[in-house]
Subunit: 351 residues, 3 copies
């Protein structure tokens, strides 16, 4: 059973450079290898596979703690970061993760590239492949873009966010952070609240998959106009054995009461249209996470935010900087989780 | 005559790392070394020098096929990619090519740099040189920009496209692709058609030089308004011994009949002005390359496009994805050809 | 006293790789180590500390002269170049400097990042830190941004220009260039003129600190509207023993007479508002540095400009390209000075 350790799937370089925890510490259900060529969303990733990502990310955290946080696992692998939307943290997080694995990284930002000349996504994907990329991290404003790209690319697509649909690496880093910071490291039965603009949030959608799979008691809370369309999904949740269910509410007091963790979502002002909200001021007054509302949760409750924050809107500056805020942990864990994802997917191409 | 092999002009690193084909396989007419410091257009590059580029690009294709496609030929050489126009494929192609040669690459995109503050091109070139660049890949919207830059730079200028004037690395990769994919690998007497917006196309202009030098029977086809100004040049063609001639026509049936290769040009909608075309719809109907028109060419005729494509305008999606389309080959060959160019020009600086 | 050499504070790699001048050649007053974690402006940097920077930059010039200008001093150190304003030379200069020291460099340009979504500077700094940066080079349109960033970052902030306030690395490279090029290499008693738009110039403000500390006889010259607010500072200057004083004048003939060096400032047209100038044409006529005006200075007077230049406005093309122009020296020296700064600050974090 020693073949089950991730380090033995190491695509290049001596495995000893990547000191992953020994296989003896891994749960017995852990799969021997990662089977997926792409990462499009979490809905097709099994619980044991999620365990494998988080387990590998632990090893990557240890790499990050070294004076020179670099391993040669992806040496010679072309990784293109193709972003059709502005981003700092996700783009840089993947760039740092890929460089830490010694990949050859190319950045393409839509605004300064020929994609602004109207080239189709499929043609761009084919071109990027012909230029040598084996992995593409894609961010796009259209839901389904990552799936479409995957159908036309012989390497691996990592969805870095597609429209309102999915942001799986974010959900995985959230899961990693919750397990790291919650007492006992177990999400089963824990009350987790996703608060705010759920409607426009790919972060929320991917977290629904990840958090219910981990057995959390999940609540989505926001104005009714921003919870629209989630009712049927919520009703169907809880029917999978071992998975948690999720509930919707517009009553913030009910949602936050005795919560173990609260994830405030960015109010996507740039995606707002059609009068879904009266004003950001009223939104902040009714759904902003401030100290008074945080007091409704358990005393040790964690505060999370995927960033970038609108401080004073969905979260108050005091809560963002609160000792129980794990927002910067999310960012650092994001590098480790993305290193794990790049590493596992590269193994799936080569293996 | 062993001094004639390109690997012995290798600027840095052991020459054995760059396994170029042995000199014995090279034609007797091959020059002993590359004499040009700059690559501005093909009109001053001799036939044997073009052979040397294509020959070196063959060696670079072999490098690209390795698991780690990297040779230390340009270690320590500063290469700045200075683009005043949006681009994906050319910019990334040069970036990947330079990094594969272990150069130190800096990207400067005009929109996000001080060139937007009105600094002159000459001052920018001097600044880039003072910052350590030995080679500059320049794209600029003005014809003649590369020439001007070359007059004020002590290193090498590689023209990555200047206005409507020239795009020599594109013409060289087109030539490389044609020789690779045409039966027999010889262009002499082959009917090659450049179809579409010739007027605004630097790709067409550089290809006229390259394809006639290679002895092709070249046809330029498009609406009369988009062939304007080429008559005198066409009349003078064919007078150079061993070179092919080129002809103009607006009759697409005449152009495509029995063609060996068809290169569809991007309709430069962003450059269109002054009512040169009634509409893109009518343009597509009269000059778009679709399956019916492709059937006029020889059964094994190749389809090319420099990208980015307006699918449904100058080329139909079916033709772009046709088994005889070599459009993605062009992209991959582009990396090899640009590696060859960077390598040869670096030898010309140092030698 | 061997512990005083900068190479022994080398954060990583064998010190022999960085051949700094031997300590015996250093002035007795040179401090044993660099004490500052951040570089915000020159006003808190002592004279001996400035000497240490210039001394270290000399060693870096020697590194730059090598065929492969790279030393491993910052291997494994994350350097993020976070620019909220357009820039070529400063951004690329820091990028090349950091790469020459083998740092891991990430570029973030505000326009293509989430900072355009309204994230606060403090949150961005925290995020960049969580992503692994140990040093941030920051350019921002607000005066005080670097100070604010330093209060929320556990690594080193290098101010790459904040509003009208400060641009300390520019002032240090100016100082380095003057000492290198002035006969005798000593600024004491030398007449240096800063000419032009002083009001909007962070370059002028930082140079006032550096040049008076070096003992220069400094003159600021420009239209009265562009010298506003400097009177009290000028009056107070000269009271520090060993420091030079600076004077204001709108009389360009008085300013340039017998000058040893003239630094023309960029007319910050993009910062102009409120009718401070009648027109750029009149500005050029009254304060532009042309050959006739240059003739007022000493025959060997140096011409400087921080770039980018508006040729024909604050400086004529003939003066910019004059044999006594050291404008490209400034650019090259900028790389050496920034290598020195990154090196010294990294030692202050680790030490």
């Amino acid at each position: 059973m020693t073949a089950a350790t991730p380090d033995q799937a190491l695509p290049a370089g001596p495995s000893s450079l990547l000191q992953v925890p020994s296989v003896d510490a891994a749960p017995a259900s852990q799969p021997t290898r990662w089977p997926h060529r792409h990462l499009l969303d979490l809905d097709t990733i099994s619980g044991p596979e999620i365990e494998l990502v988080l387990h590998t990310a632990e090893a990557m955290r240890e790499v990050l703690a070294r004076p020179i946080a670099r391993v040669p696992a992806l040496r010679g692998t072309g990784v293109t970061i193709l972003f059709y939307e502005a981003s700092t943290r996700t783009r840089v997080s993947f760039e740092v993760a890929a460089k830490n694995l010694t990949a050859d990284v190319v950045n393409i930002a839509a605004a300064s590239s020929s994609v602004s000349k109207g080239e189709s996504l499929i043609d761009t994907i084919r071109t990027v492949e012909a230029l040598g990329a084996r992995m593409i991290v894609l961010r796009h404003s259209s839901s389904g873009a990552a799936q479409l790209a995957a159908e036309h690319f012989s390497g691996s697509i990592l969805n870095g966010g597609d429209g309102w649909h999915a942001h799986p690496s974010q959900a995985l880093l959230d899961l990693f952070t919750l397990r790291q910071r919650l007492p006992g490291g177990d999400l089963r039965g824990r009350k987790v609240v996703i608060l705010g603009d759920v409607l426009h949030s790919r972060v929320a959608r991917s977290n629904i998959w990840g958090l219910t799979a981990a057995g959390a008691d999940l609540w989505l809370c926001g104005p009714a106009t921003l919870l629209r369309g989630f009712e049927a999904w919520a009703s169907a949740s809880g029917s999978v054995p071992g998975h948690g269910r999720f509930q919707l509410t517009s009553d913030i007091n009910q949602a936050l009461k005795d919560a173990d963790a609260i994830m405030a979502l960015r109010l996507q002002r740039e995606r707002m249209a059609g009068g879904l909200l009266p004003s950001t001021r009223e939104y902040a007054a009714r759904y902003g996470l401030d100290l008074a509302r945080l007091a409704l949760a358990r005393p040790e409750a964690l505060v999370m935010h995927p960033g970038p924050m609108n401080e004073g809107v969905e979260i108050s500056p005091e809560v963002a900087a609160h000792p129980r805020s794990v927002i910067t942990d999310q960012v650092t864990n994001g590098v480790a989780v993305r290193m794990a994802l790049l590493y596992l997917l590269a193994g799936a191409i080569d293996g």
